[in-house]
């Protein structure tokens, strides 16, 4: 592996020709293009700040026509492009390509159409997730996928990553709520995927596009499904002496045929950090279980009673029902602040995102504990217990030589552990740059080659967010079959992990 300074030297941005820059300027106007180094650095990373690359230029289109014109220029000159919404992604999905441009959708933030009776809304990709809910709230509706960054992150980014959130268990993911996409393909062609009506004829192109992490093209308009808010919502906090007991409670609730809107578990360190950070008044305990039930009043009352009994039967020494909307929001505020709050626990941290079958939770946590101790690092855990989506937060101090590498390595080994137990390397943050090698641990060569067939159909010249998602560069003419080593590998210059 190249050391950081060598990497930085290798990734100096290629300078785009004046002619090409003039072409971009003609499309987006003088105010729509950034070429000055200081300003470009604002865009050199997303939420994964350890990886930084300055793009050759940043363009900020205002319309689908401008996006199409930009991509046509890229197609003509074979310039790679990376799309960016709010840059909150945690896997490096919006990390620029050194010799390419970054397309920021900050100026495409309009809500285009709202159809409340049919429960649909059409938005530009730069619209903020929580703004969608705000727009439809007066009629008692909301937009269900709620990642923790929802007050900042954009729908375009949500589509690229198939963003989830705490309410996936009951309400599904971004892909559950996307009906149609206007897409500019890497060739510059404009296509309509899906439709405002369900089951549009043809291949499920929308389904394969959502979660494709910007590798198949860019979206310029999205038609989303909105959902009627439930009649009532209740939130319970239960305190335990062990995560295993909290985990068993989760399993027992599911076994009782109750489907909560959300079930979250936080461990002691996370609880302390969240408490110090936003003061949600959490009980001090080894494990906190947060359960949200929503639905008709009669149903929620009965189910909550059952849930409280199940908590106590599993040893919860306190179970506290939020008594008001204010209390309910405060409970959630603490949970949603957990990642940022980790900043209090150590100078640096890595948030990981593995998934395991729910029943494997106790084994996995024991194993993570063992691995952490062996490395000499601390790991705190926050998770969407209902669907087995773990967020282990690896704490470290980057100023201590070697710690960053140790922490990165540990976080990836945790993902391998998840795969070993029948899970996934990512539940909602995406693969991006960060986990592209781990894709090779989770999927076999035939699996990855098959996904590559899709990529080549959409993007034969590999211009859309290249060098992401797949473990190694693959040409579109490659056939599946026995592995043949890359020339760099044969020459001993590079290695695949």
């Amino acid at each position: 592996m190249l050391s950081r300074p060598e990497q930085a030297a290798k990734l100096e941005p290629k300078v785009l020709s004046e002619a090409v820059l003039a072409d971009f300027r003609a499309v987006v106007g003088e105010n729509g293009i950034i070429v000055e180094r200081n300003q470009l650095q604002t865009y050199e990373c997303d939420g994964l700040t350890a990886l930084r690359t300055v793009p050759a230029a940043v363009v900020l289109p205002r319309s689908t026509d401008e996006v199409q014109a930009i991509i046509r220029i890229c197609a003509q000159h074979r310039i790679p492009f990376v799309a960016r919404g709010a840059g909150t992604g945690l896997s490096g999905g919006a990390l620029p390509a050194a010799n390419g441009i970054l397309i920021s959708f900050a100026r495409m933030n309009r809500i285009l159409a709202v159809d409340i009776p049919n429960q649909r809304i059409t938005v530009e990709p730069g619209v903020i997730n929580s703004h969608v809910t705000q727009r439809v709230a007066p009629s008692g509706h909301f937009y269900a996928p709620d990642p923790s960054s929802q007050s900042v992150c954009t729908i375009g980014g949500n589509v690229a990553e198939n963003a989830g959130g705490a309410h996936c268990l009951k309400y599904g993911f971004t892909t559950t709520h996307v009906l149609a996409l206007d897409v500019v393909l890497p060739s510059g062609e404009f296509v309509h995927l899906g439709s405002p009506t369900v089951d549009s004829p043809g291949y499920d192109l929308t389904g394969v596009f959502v979660g494709s992490e910007g590798t198949l093209g860019v979206v310029t308009a999205i038609t989303l499904r909105i959902v009627k808010r439930a009649e009532t919502v209740q939130v319970l906090l239960a305190a335990y002496n062990s995560i295993a007991a909290a985990g068993q409670t989760v399993s027992d609730i599911i076994a009782a045929s109750i489907l909560p809107a959300a079930m979250e578990i936080m461990d002691r360190l996370s609880i302390e950090a969240a408490e110090a950070s936003v003061h949600p008044n959490y009980p001090a305990c080894a494990a906190l279980l947060l359960i949200e039930l929503d639905g008709p009043v009669g149903e929620v009352d009965v189910h909550m009673q059952q849930v409280r009994e199940i908590c106590r039967a599993n040893g919860a020494w306190e179970d506290r029902l939020a008594q008001s909307e204010h209390e309910r929001l405060l409970v959630w505020k603490g949970r949603k602040a957990a990642f940022a709050a980790a900043g209090r626990l150590a100078p640096n941290y890595i948030v990981q995102d593995g998934v395991i079958p729910r029943t494997k939770l106790p084994i996995i946590l024991e194993e993570i504990e063992r691995m952490a101790t062996a490395t000499g690092l601390r790991v705190t855990n926050v998770f969407h217990a209902g669907d087995g989506n773990l967020h282990p937060i690896v704490l470290y101090n980057a100023s201590i030589p070697g710690q960053e590498e140790l922490a990165t390595d540990l976080s990836i080994r945790i993902l391998h552990l998840c795969v070993d137990h029948g899970g996934s390397i990512t539940g909602e943050h995406g693969v991006g740059k960060e986990k592209q090698q781990a894709m090779g641990y989770m999927y076999s060569e035939p699996d990855l080659n098959t996904m590559q067939l899709v990529r080549c159909a959409f993007d034969p010249h590999q211009l859309a967010n290249p060098d992401k998602l797949f473990p190694r560069p693959r040409l579109c003419g490659e056939k599946s079959g026995p592995y043949t080593p890359h020339p760099l590998e044969v020459a001993g210059i590079a290695e695949y992990f």
């Binding site: 996936c168 004829p201 539940g427």
Partner: protein, 402 residues
């Protein structure tokens, strides 16, 4: 067409893969019944190399959906018939593609769970065929489609590559959702051999109500009100019958809550001068009944919920009947005398963002074209070309002749 010498060679080679007792030869077509994903891969590898076209056959219930094709080899999946795994505590299961839908559900019911879908011909149709055609019924409203219920798949590509997509956990964003692409692809991109589903608990208490009227517009208004309400609606459909129309509502929640909601439903019905009563037991079979009408055009139409009642009225004026799920999926049958009017209906649906797919033509009827999306056909052709360059898998079956 295969000549007799190559026919004999192919017969011998195919028999070597699955055993001669699992190969049948009729004139110039073969039928083979492999027992595993690996055997299917061997068959496809062989067929791909020798230009033998293949169609897949599960329960044979929807062979006439899509464009008619004449393959040389019929690949039967019934020997891949088992529920491989039911991890009930994680609420997932993995099932082979040749398993009958009802067999799977029976097995899952042992732990009070099910795959939340009510497809056509559940006693004869297979998992693979239902997925390949993306069938869905009245449970669509609450539980979503197969694309929301399938979390992983094993597929075999035309060249014999065995690939896995998704996994065994519900929340998984690693890589492309190839299983979504395969769902509804009519076997034209690959053959599905195994599916992993997310499961739900079988609802313990359900009750159905029907509001009948000749006034389809009022029923349409009521449908929209119910969608906007807090009722625990599991299923909602607008059905036309021999006289008038009916809105059927199935509620699923605790018994005391159903009682409360029944009176809320009555109030909603009264607000459009209508009355709710208990449903007959067979109202939820309405969709299946359309497929018994072989002398009719049988079709699937999609539309926005607010367009359901006007389109249902249009179907009535064409002398036909329909049943439409509130998500916006209509099953309709129209007498053979009105083919020109079907073109007009298709145009009307397309103008309001919907579509028409003719699933069954009566004998001797002039075929009516189904909705074909224009600007994505090149992309779909490119996908077909990448996945099946020799056009071996169900070639021509899909829209656009793909």
């Amino acid at each position: 067409m295969l000549d007799s010498t190559s026919s004999q060679t192919f017969a011998d080679d195919l028999a070597a893969i699955s055993g001669p007792e699992h190969l049948r030869v009729d004139e110039n077509t073969f039928s083979i019944a492999p027992v595993s994903t690996e055997e299917i891969a061997a068959v496809l590898r062989y067929a791909n190399r020798n230009g033998i076209t293949i169609a897949t056959y599960g329960g044979g219930t929807k062979q006439n959906w899509g464009n008619p094709i004449h393959p040389s080899l019929m690949l039967h999946t019934h020997r891949l018939g088992s529920v491989r795994e039911h991890t009930w505590q994680d609420m997932t299961c993995t099932v082979q593609a040749g398993c009958l839908w009802s067999s799977m559900q029976q097995s899952l019911a042992k732990h009070g769970q099910f795959v939340a879908l009510d497809p056509l011909w559940p006693d004869r149709a297979t998992i693979g065929g239902i997925a390949a055609t993306n069938d869905s019924g009245s449970l669509r409203l609450r539980y979503g489609s197969l694309r929301d219920l399938i979390i992983g798949m094993t597929i075999v590509l035309a060249d014999g590559t065995i690939a896995r997509s998704g996994g065994k956990v519900v929340k998984n964003v690693a890589g492309y959702d190839l299983h979504k692409l395969m769902t509804g692809a009519f076997g034209t991109l690959g053959i599905i051999t195994e599916i992993t589903f997310r499961l739900h608990s079988i609802p313990r208490h359900v009750q159905s109500f029907t509001i009948a009227s000749f006034d389809v517009e009022s029923l349409g208004q009521l449908l929209m009100k119910i969608l906007d309400s807090h009722l625990s609606t599991q299923s909602l459909q607008l059905r036309s019958g021999s006289s008038g129309f009916a809105l059927d509502v199935r509620l699923a929640t605790l018994p005391a809550v159903i009682r409360d909601q029944a009176s809320s439903l009555s109030k909603l019905a009264q607000s459009v001068q209508l009355e709710a009563s208990d449903s007959d037991s067979d109202v939820w079979d309405a969709r299946q009944e359309h497929f018994d009408r072989t002398e009719y055009f049988v079709m699937k139409a999609t539309m926005l919920p607010s367009d359901i009642s006007p389109i249902a009225a249009t179907i009535r004026t064409l002398g036909g009947t329909s049943v439409t799920q509130a998500a916006g999926i209509m099953t309709a049958s129209i007498p053979a005398a009105a083919p020109g009017q079907l073109e007009h209906l298709r145009e009307k649906l397309e103008a309001i963002g919907g579509s028409l797919t003719v699933l069954h033509h009566p004998a001797d009827a002039i075929p009516v074209a189904s909705t074909t999306p224009s600007d994505t056909i090149p992309l779909m052709r490119e996908l077909k070309n990448r996945f099946d360059p020799n056009r071996v898998l169900n070639p021509g079956r899909f829209l656009g002749g793909i």
